[in-house]
Amino acid sequence: MNLGSVASLGYSGPELVLAAGVLFIIGGGLLVEHKRRLGDLALLVVASSLVAAVGLRIPFSDLRIVDGLMGWGDGWLFSRMIVIDNFSLFFKILLLLAAFAAIWMSLGSNEVARTSQGEYYGVLVSSCLGMLYMAAASNLLMAYLSLEFVSLTSYVLAGYLKRDRRSCEAALKYLIYGGVASGTMIYGMSLLYGLAGSLDYAEIHDALAGGEYSPLALFFAVVFVLAGMGYKIAAVPFHMWAPDVYEGAPIPITAFLSVGSKAAGFALLIRFFYPVLSEQVAEGSWRFLGGVDWPTLMLVVCMVTMTLGNLAALGQSNLKRMLAYSSIAHAGYVLMGFVVLTDEGLSAMLFYLVAYYLMNLGAFLVVLVVANCTGREDLDGYRALAWRGGAIPAVAMAIFLFSLTGIPPLVGFIGKFYLFAAVIAEHRYVLALVGILNSVISLYYYARVVKAMFLDEPEGGEELVTVGVHHGVLLGLLVAPTIFLGIYWEPVMRLAANSVRFFQG
């Protein structure tokens, strides 16, 4: 299926809703007295977009949602600019959920309440729109445009707390770093264009499969492109912006960046490296197109990413910064599924991203709750959290952190389990061992937080921490699946497995 512009609109429900929403919110910002309403509006927009996205996946004849969320109407839209397939829809839903949670968190955030909210939500929603296109781009131009769209809006969001020096610095560093990374990336894209003679993914693939190109030049192109994509997923050595930005940005934005931006980056990465730079040799098994051994390159990146991320996280005392390093490490874990060149690996990655969504957002939510009550983000602010009113956030935090560590029966374990399974199925025992050792190391710093919350005695004088209904509900919404998916995850896994289907024409 290759639809033209007008016909494509029928399949662009989520994006259209978001785009219209952006206009309404920004416009509403000029009219509405009660700025908080704008947040509610944004929530509504994202929710309806979510409905639209889910709707795209469900054929009306079949009410079994899970089985329904499968291949239906694959194809190119807008003259092969973007693609609609299982893979893109999976990410769209995930990204919309991330935006949804981020907006929800923003609604209760003291930091955000002090800013101009109309623009805030408008930019946030538009950022989400960019992410949706990242997940669907099937053209180098769309890939670059959407990535840059997300980046630009993220710079704004990261620097949104103008009077907070850290926030401004975060924006500046993010901007510079992102500019260099994306500049490098498009330089690589230009080389790729020169090699393949086209910007279209499928045509590039065909050209590369045809074999009339220099592997060395292609390798150069791939490395340059990797700089941009690696920066988006915060993989070492393109990770350096992450700690500063995560620490400086408003907490909901940090959460959104760490989950949404990263997931979108992975979507871009996977679609670029799998359907474009590889070909399927057998059912569920891939082979990189001759000459460019990117899996080995990524293997190195993967191992270095998780190791450095974890080790650097060990010494952190600021929760946001620690979670930033941890999110770097998690990018490394996810990359484990990336290098094995199998569908199992890919579906494990998708599943892990779902798990990561739940637990990482949850962790940031607790950070938000604590920061709201005490204004603190450092580890000492969590001292004896469980014993000064914050039992619920403390327990939830413990669950999220242990899930991040990968301890059953929490969803993080299942995610890691699938990643390790994919790795071991390909007999990459060294990689598995590195991953495992990293899991153990990661326990150390996660447990430090847990220790502070539960094991330390209150010194007296700490503020009480209470969680209101607003955040409480979201906390519940995140905790419940974190546990439940650790016990019964088959539907989600099936969804992830089925989402590893790329439309290639």
């Binding site: 512009s5 494509s8 785009a19 920004i26 003259s79 805030y120 630009l152 704004v156 220099s214 150069f220």
Partner: protein, 165 residues
């Protein structure tokens, strides 16, 4: 055709010299003006390559927009009349070696490999074709770009304006 070479080398030299000055100058204002030279040089190269519309856009947006923005930034953030605005460099040696190595690699590879369809197409007037494309196959990026600009401008305004309180 010698004429092509005659035009190419000065223009390329202008671009490279401009770029070098951007990179090496210790005065930010000088850098900004050097960027202007580089942009013009590149613009010339575009013309050599038959990309007239792109060249025009380059001049309009870059020269008219970006450089002016940069100068604005310099002026707004420094006291006007400050003759020497610092643009210090640090760590030149390692940076030079890394970038030199990167450039060398690129050059070696570019000159060694053959590129897809290395043959010169007939130059055509591009403006109409580009306009056509914008409204046909590239309509989505085109529209999306407008959303990008909207969001970015709104964001930029919010970030840069003074706090109201």
């Amino acid at each position: 055709m010698q004429a092509g070479a005659l035009v190419f080398y000065p223009v390329a030299a202008l671009a490279i010299a401009g770029a070098a000055l951007v990179a090496l100058s210790t005065n930010i204002v000088h850098s900004a003006f050097a960027l202007l030279g580089m942009l013009v040089g590149v613009c010339g190269l575009y013309l050599l390559l038959g990309a007239d519309f792109v060249a025009a856009v380059q001049l309009l947006i870059y020269v008219g927009g970006v450089v002016v923005l940069a100068l604005f930034a310099v002026m707004l953030t420094h006291r006007v009349g400050d003759p020497v605005v610092s643009n210090r460099s640090v760590g030149r040696l390692p940076a030079l070696s890394i970038c030199g190595a990167g450039a060398a690699c690129c050059l070696v590879v570019f000159w060694r490999v053959g590129w897809q369809g290395e043959r010169l197409a007939e130059p055509v007037a591009t403006t109409a074709a580009i306009g056509d494309s914008f409204l046909k196959e590239y309509v989505l990026p085109f529209e999306l770009a407008s959303v990008v600009l909207l969001a970015v401008l709104v964001g930029a305004v919010v970030v840069s304006r003074k706090e109201l309180k």
